[in-house]
Protein backbone atom coordinates (compact mmCIF):
# COMPACT_ATOMS: atom_id res chain seq x y z
CA UNK A 1 0.00 0.00 0.00
CA UNK A 2 2.81 2.40 0.87
CA UNK A 3 4.63 1.51 -2.32
CA UNK A 4 1.75 2.52 -4.58
CA UNK A 5 1.21 5.91 -2.85
CA UNK A 6 2.22 8.82 -5.07
CA UNK A 7 5.09 11.02 -3.91
CA UNK A 8 2.85 13.91 -2.83
CA UNK A 9 1.15 11.85 -0.14
CA UNK A 10 4.48 10.95 1.45
CA UNK A 11 5.04 14.60 2.36
CA UNK A 12 5.39 15.59 5.97
CA UNK A 13 2.45 18.01 5.71
CA UNK A 14 -0.76 17.70 3.70
CA UNK A 15 -3.86 19.84 3.27
CA UNK A 16 -7.27 18.23 3.45
CA UNK A 17 -10.90 18.57 4.43
CA UNK A 18 -12.38 16.85 7.47
CA UNK A 19 -14.96 14.31 6.33
CA UNK A 20 -17.73 12.62 8.41
CA UNK A 21 -16.59 9.44 10.13
CA UNK A 22 -17.58 7.07 12.88
CA UNK A 23 -14.23 7.36 14.68
CA UNK A 24 -14.39 8.38 18.32
CA UNK A 25 -11.06 10.03 19.07
CA UNK A 26 -9.76 10.71 15.58
CA UNK A 27 -10.71 12.52 12.39
CA UNK A 28 -10.89 11.36 8.82
CA UNK A 29 -9.26 13.88 6.51
CA UNK A 30 -9.74 13.75 2.75
CA UNK A 31 -6.67 14.96 0.86
CA UNK A 32 -7.04 15.91 -2.83
CA UNK A 33 -4.07 15.50 -5.17
CA UNK A 34 -3.42 15.43 -8.92
CA UNK A 35 -2.06 12.51 -10.92
CA UNK A 36 -0.54 12.97 -14.35
CA UNK A 37 -1.88 10.89 -17.23
CA UNK A 38 1.11 10.23 -19.51
CA UNK A 39 -0.93 9.79 -22.69
CA UNK A 40 -3.32 12.72 -22.30
CA UNK A 41 -0.64 14.90 -20.65
CA UNK A 42 -3.25 16.22 -18.23
CA UNK A 43 -3.79 16.16 -14.50
CA UNK A 44 -6.73 14.36 -12.94
CA UNK A 45 -7.88 14.87 -9.36
CA UNK A 46 -7.84 11.99 -6.92
CA UNK A 47 -8.49 11.93 -3.19
CA UNK A 48 -6.97 9.92 -0.37
CA UNK A 49 -8.34 9.60 3.17
CA UNK A 50 -6.07 9.83 6.18
CA UNK A 51 -6.90 9.26 9.83
CA UNK A 52 -5.54 12.02 12.05
CA UNK A 53 -5.61 12.87 15.74
CA UNK A 54 -6.78 16.33 16.73
CA UNK A 55 -5.13 17.25 20.03
CA UNK A 56 -7.16 20.46 20.44
CA UNK A 57 -10.50 18.78 19.57
CA UNK A 58 -11.56 21.95 17.76
CA UNK A 59 -11.94 20.59 14.21
CA UNK A 60 -15.37 19.65 12.92
CA UNK A 61 -16.51 18.10 9.63
CA UNK A 62 -16.02 20.41 6.68
CA UNK A 63 -13.04 22.29 8.10
CA UNK A 64 -9.96 22.58 5.91
CA UNK A 65 -6.93 21.53 7.94
CA UNK A 66 -3.22 20.91 7.59
CA UNK A 67 -2.21 17.48 8.85
CA UNK A 68 1.34 16.62 9.78
CA UNK A 69 2.85 13.16 9.76
CA UNK A 70 3.37 11.69 13.21
CA UNK A 71 6.95 10.88 14.09
CA UNK A 72 5.92 7.82 16.05
CA UNK A 73 2.66 5.97 15.36
CA UNK A 74 1.05 4.60 18.51
CA UNK A 75 -1.90 3.11 16.64
CA UNK A 76 -1.58 1.37 13.29
CA UNK A 77 -4.18 3.48 11.43
CA UNK A 78 -3.54 6.93 12.92
CA UNK A 79 -0.76 8.32 10.75
CA UNK A 80 -1.09 12.11 11.08
CA UNK A 81 -2.08 14.83 13.53
CA UNK A 82 -3.85 18.13 12.84
CA UNK A 83 -1.31 20.93 13.07
CA UNK A 84 -3.34 23.95 11.92
CA UNK A 85 -6.85 24.83 10.74
CA UNK A 86 -6.86 26.77 7.48
CA UNK A 87 -10.60 27.45 7.16
CA UNK A 88 -13.39 26.68 9.59
CA UNK A 89 -16.70 25.74 7.97
CA UNK A 90 -19.13 28.61 8.47
CA UNK A 91 -16.53 30.93 10.03
CA UNK A 92 -14.16 31.54 7.14
CA UNK A 93 -11.60 34.22 7.91
CA UNK A 94 -9.95 36.04 5.00
CA UNK A 95 -6.24 35.89 5.93
CA UNK A 96 -5.31 39.01 3.94
CA UNK A 97 -7.72 41.35 5.72
CA UNK A 98 -8.40 39.31 8.85
CA UNK A 99 -12.15 39.85 8.53
CA UNK A 100 -14.80 37.17 8.71
CA UNK A 101 -16.28 36.38 5.33
CA UNK A 102 -19.44 34.78 3.91
CA UNK A 103 -18.78 33.61 0.35
CA UNK A 104 -17.55 36.66 -1.52
CA UNK A 105 -18.87 39.23 0.98
CA UNK A 106 -17.48 40.53 4.22
CA UNK A 107 -19.66 39.80 7.24
CA UNK A 108 -19.56 43.32 8.68
CA UNK A 109 -20.54 44.81 5.29
CA UNK A 110 -23.43 42.39 5.05
CA UNK A 111 -24.58 43.31 8.55
CA UNK A 112 -24.45 47.01 7.68
CA UNK A 113 -26.60 46.48 4.57
CA UNK A 114 -29.06 44.39 6.60
CA UNK A 115 -29.26 47.18 9.17
CA UNK A 116 -29.94 49.81 6.49
CA UNK A 117 -32.75 47.70 5.09
CA UNK A 118 -34.07 47.15 8.58
CA UNK A 119 -33.85 43.36 8.35
CA UNK A 120 -35.09 41.29 11.26
CA UNK A 121 -34.75 37.58 11.82
CA UNK A 122 -31.50 37.19 9.89
CA UNK A 123 -28.87 34.82 11.24
CA UNK A 124 -26.58 36.70 13.62
CA UNK A 125 -23.08 35.26 13.42
CA UNK A 126 -21.81 37.06 16.52
CA UNK A 127 -24.59 35.89 18.80
CA UNK A 128 -24.80 32.30 17.52
CA UNK A 129 -23.25 29.61 19.76
CA UNK A 130 -20.26 27.60 18.58
CA UNK A 131 -20.77 24.76 16.16
CA UNK A 132 -21.45 21.40 17.73
CA UNK A 133 -24.29 22.25 20.09
CA UNK A 134 -26.90 20.41 18.04
CA UNK A 135 -24.79 17.45 16.98
CA UNK A 136 -26.93 14.34 17.13
CA UNK A 137 -30.19 16.24 17.64
CA UNK A 138 -30.45 18.55 14.63
CA UNK A 139 -26.97 18.51 13.06
CA UNK A 140 -26.17 15.18 11.45
CA UNK A 141 -23.00 16.11 9.57
CA UNK A 142 -20.51 14.67 12.05
CA UNK A 143 -21.13 11.01 11.19
CA UNK A 144 -21.69 9.48 7.74
CA UNK A 145 -25.32 9.00 6.71
CA UNK A 146 -26.72 5.97 4.89
CA UNK A 147 -29.95 4.87 3.25
CA UNK A 148 -32.24 2.76 5.34
CA UNK A 149 -35.30 0.90 4.07
CA UNK A 150 -36.98 -0.59 7.12
CA UNK A 151 -39.16 1.37 9.55
CA UNK A 152 -37.85 0.73 13.03
CA UNK A 153 -39.64 1.88 16.16
CA UNK A 154 -36.65 4.02 17.11
CA UNK A 155 -35.14 5.38 13.90
CA UNK A 156 -31.42 6.12 13.74
CA UNK A 157 -31.23 9.83 12.75
CA UNK A 158 -28.22 9.07 10.55
CA UNK A 159 -30.26 6.62 8.45
CA UNK A 160 -32.15 8.39 5.68
CA UNK A 161 -35.39 6.93 4.46
CA UNK A 162 -36.55 9.09 1.56
Amino acid sequence: MAGSLPGVLKNSILLGQVVPSNLKNALKVQVPYFTFDERLKAYFKKTEDFIAVDPSKESKTGDVVIIQKLEKQTKKDITHHVSQTVFKLGDVKDPISGEYVVGSEYRNRRDKIDELYGATGNFKYDEAPKRGRLEGTRDFTDKPTYRTWHEFEKDDPYGIRN
Binding site: G7, F34, F36, K41, Q84, V92, G103, S104
Partner: protein, 176 residues
Protein backbone atom coordinates in the same frame (compact mmCIF):
# COMPACT_ATOMS: atom_id res chain seq x y z
CA UNK B 1 -0.13 18.08 -31.62
CA UNK B 2 -1.97 14.76 -31.85
CA UNK B 3 -5.12 14.03 -29.82
CA UNK B 4 -5.58 17.75 -29.26
CA UNK B 5 -9.13 18.07 -28.06
CA UNK B 6 -10.55 20.48 -25.52
CA UNK B 7 -10.02 24.12 -24.70
CA UNK B 8 -6.47 25.37 -25.35
CA UNK B 9 -4.90 21.92 -25.86
CA UNK B 10 -1.45 23.47 -26.07
CA UNK B 11 -1.52 23.27 -22.27
CA UNK B 12 -1.31 19.51 -22.72
CA UNK B 13 2.01 19.43 -24.57
CA UNK B 14 5.24 18.39 -22.83
CA UNK B 15 7.06 21.35 -24.35
CA UNK B 16 4.59 23.80 -22.85
CA UNK B 17 4.52 22.07 -19.46
CA UNK B 18 8.31 21.95 -19.23
CA UNK B 19 8.58 25.68 -19.97
CA UNK B 20 7.71 26.68 -16.45
CA UNK B 21 10.04 29.14 -14.70
CA UNK B 22 8.70 28.24 -11.26
CA UNK B 23 10.46 25.37 -9.48
CA UNK B 24 9.43 25.73 -5.83
CA UNK B 25 12.04 25.66 -3.09
CA UNK B 26 12.15 22.25 -1.38
CA UNK B 27 10.64 23.52 1.87
CA UNK B 28 7.31 24.43 0.14
CA UNK B 29 5.00 21.42 0.47
CA UNK B 30 1.47 22.71 -0.23
CA UNK B 31 0.29 25.51 -2.49
CA UNK B 32 -3.27 26.81 -2.24
CA UNK B 33 -4.98 29.16 -4.69
CA UNK B 34 -8.14 30.94 -3.54
CA UNK B 35 -9.97 32.76 -6.31
CA UNK B 36 -13.41 33.79 -7.53
CA UNK B 37 -15.22 32.53 -10.55
CA UNK B 38 -16.73 34.26 -13.60
CA UNK B 39 -17.14 37.96 -13.72
CA UNK B 40 -15.10 39.28 -10.82
CA UNK B 41 -12.51 41.49 -12.49
CA UNK B 42 -9.98 41.37 -9.68
CA UNK B 43 -9.81 37.59 -9.97
CA UNK B 44 -9.26 37.54 -13.73
CA UNK B 45 -5.48 37.26 -13.46
CA UNK B 46 -5.70 34.41 -10.97
CA UNK B 47 -8.22 32.60 -13.13
CA UNK B 48 -5.79 32.83 -16.05
CA UNK B 49 -3.01 31.68 -13.71
CA UNK B 50 -5.02 28.60 -12.72
CA UNK B 51 -5.99 27.87 -16.33
CA UNK B 52 -2.60 28.39 -18.00
CA UNK B 53 0.08 28.07 -15.33
CA UNK B 54 -1.05 25.64 -12.63
CA UNK B 55 -0.53 22.50 -14.79
CA UNK B 56 2.97 23.80 -15.57
CA UNK B 57 3.75 24.29 -11.90
CA UNK B 58 2.48 20.84 -10.98
CA UNK B 59 4.55 19.33 -13.82
CA UNK B 60 7.72 20.93 -12.56
CA UNK B 61 6.86 20.21 -8.90
CA UNK B 62 5.27 16.74 -8.85
CA UNK B 63 5.66 16.38 -5.07
CA UNK B 64 3.92 19.62 -4.10
CA UNK B 65 0.23 19.38 -3.25
CA UNK B 66 -1.68 22.04 -5.19
CA UNK B 67 -5.26 22.81 -4.14
CA UNK B 68 -7.71 25.39 -5.50
CA UNK B 69 -10.62 26.97 -3.67
CA UNK B 70 -13.38 28.85 -5.49
CA UNK B 71 -15.56 31.64 -4.12
CA UNK B 72 -14.49 31.33 -0.49
CA UNK B 73 -13.32 34.91 0.09
CA UNK B 74 -14.00 38.24 -1.64
CA UNK B 75 -10.40 38.79 -2.75
CA UNK B 76 -8.08 36.20 -4.32
CA UNK B 77 -4.83 35.05 -2.70
CA UNK B 78 -2.25 32.30 -2.93
CA UNK B 79 -0.84 30.51 0.13
CA UNK B 80 2.35 28.47 0.34
CA UNK B 81 2.69 26.10 3.29
CA UNK B 82 6.20 25.15 4.40
CA UNK B 83 7.29 21.97 6.10
CA UNK B 84 7.88 23.79 9.40
CA UNK B 85 4.17 24.71 9.52
CA UNK B 86 4.73 28.34 8.52
CA UNK B 87 2.87 29.91 5.60
CA UNK B 88 3.36 32.72 3.10
CA UNK B 89 0.38 34.65 1.69
CA UNK B 90 0.39 36.35 -1.70
CA UNK B 91 -2.40 38.88 -2.20
CA UNK B 92 -2.98 38.67 -5.96
CA UNK B 93 -5.95 41.00 -6.28
CA UNK B 94 -6.01 42.54 -9.81
CA UNK B 95 -2.66 41.12 -10.89
CA UNK B 96 -2.13 39.47 -14.28
CA UNK B 97 -1.00 35.86 -14.40
CA UNK B 98 2.46 36.91 -15.62
CA UNK B 99 2.88 39.24 -12.64
CA UNK B 100 1.76 36.49 -10.26
CA UNK B 101 4.21 34.01 -11.81
CA UNK B 102 7.13 36.45 -11.65
CA UNK B 103 6.35 37.26 -8.04
CA UNK B 104 6.19 33.59 -7.08
CA UNK B 105 9.49 32.85 -8.83
CA UNK B 106 11.14 35.74 -7.00
CA UNK B 107 9.89 34.73 -3.54
CA UNK B 108 9.41 30.95 -3.37
CA UNK B 109 11.06 29.73 -6.56
CA UNK B 110 14.58 28.50 -7.16
CA UNK B 111 16.66 31.12 -8.93
CA UNK B 112 17.74 30.68 -12.57
CA UNK B 113 21.34 30.10 -11.49
CA UNK B 114 20.39 27.25 -9.16
CA UNK B 115 18.22 25.70 -11.89
CA UNK B 116 21.07 25.86 -14.42
CA UNK B 117 23.46 24.21 -11.97
CA UNK B 118 20.93 21.48 -11.28
CA UNK B 119 20.42 20.92 -15.02
CA UNK B 120 24.14 20.44 -15.56
CA UNK B 121 24.40 18.09 -12.58
CA UNK B 122 21.47 15.97 -13.78
CA UNK B 123 22.87 15.76 -17.33
CA UNK B 124 26.09 14.23 -16.05
CA UNK B 125 24.10 11.69 -14.10
CA UNK B 126 21.76 10.60 -16.85
CA UNK B 127 24.15 10.66 -19.85
CA UNK B 128 24.07 7.10 -21.28
CA UNK B 129 27.47 7.64 -22.96
CA UNK B 130 29.21 7.36 -19.58
CA UNK B 131 30.83 4.14 -18.30
CA UNK B 132 30.97 2.54 -14.87
CA UNK B 133 28.37 0.00 -13.79
CA UNK B 134 29.11 0.72 -10.15
CA UNK B 135 27.78 4.28 -10.56
CA UNK B 136 24.65 3.09 -12.36
CA UNK B 137 25.59 3.40 -16.01
CA UNK B 138 24.86 0.57 -18.41
CA UNK B 139 28.36 -0.35 -19.62
CA UNK B 140 31.55 -1.04 -17.66
CA UNK B 141 33.98 -0.53 -20.52
CA UNK B 142 34.09 0.02 -24.28
CA UNK B 143 35.58 -3.47 -24.66
CA UNK B 144 32.09 -4.99 -24.28
CA UNK B 145 30.75 -3.20 -27.40
CA UNK B 146 30.74 -5.31 -30.62
CA UNK B 147 33.26 -4.03 -33.17
CA UNK B 148 35.67 -2.65 -30.57
CA UNK B 149 38.99 -4.00 -29.37
CA UNK B 150 38.21 -6.98 -27.06
CA UNK B 151 39.14 -6.86 -23.38
CA UNK B 152 42.92 -7.30 -23.01
CA UNK B 153 42.28 -9.46 -19.92
CA UNK B 154 40.67 -12.03 -22.25
CA UNK B 155 42.48 -11.57 -25.58
CA UNK B 156 46.04 -10.12 -25.42
CA UNK B 157 46.50 -7.03 -27.53
CA UNK B 158 49.09 -7.27 -30.46
CA UNK B 159 52.49 -6.49 -28.95
CA UNK B 160 53.25 -3.66 -31.33
CA UNK B 161 50.13 -1.80 -30.06
CA UNK B 162 51.38 -1.81 -26.51
CA UNK B 163 52.91 1.30 -25.04
CA UNK B 164 55.57 -0.94 -23.43
CA UNK B 165 56.85 -2.09 -26.85
CA UNK B 166 56.82 1.44 -28.21
CA UNK B 167 58.63 3.01 -25.27
CA UNK B 168 61.24 0.27 -24.93
CA UNK B 169 62.53 1.20 -28.36
CA UNK B 170 61.38 -1.87 -30.31
CA UNK B 171 59.92 0.35 -33.00
CA UNK B 172 63.46 1.25 -34.09
CA UNK B 173 64.52 -2.36 -34.50
CA UNK B 174 64.77 -3.85 -37.91
CA UNK B 175 61.76 -5.99 -38.79
CA UNK B 176 62.57 -9.64 -39.43
Amino acid sequence: MPFMKGVAPIRRTTKYLARCPLVLKPRVKVMTVNFNDKGEEHSEGVRDFVFWNLPQIQYKNPNVQIVTFKDMTPSPFITCFMEDNSKVYFDVDSQTNKEIMDRLVKTVGKSKQVLEEEAIASEAKSNPANFNRRLGFERHCICEMPGQVPCPSVVPVPIHWRGKWWNQGHRYEEEE
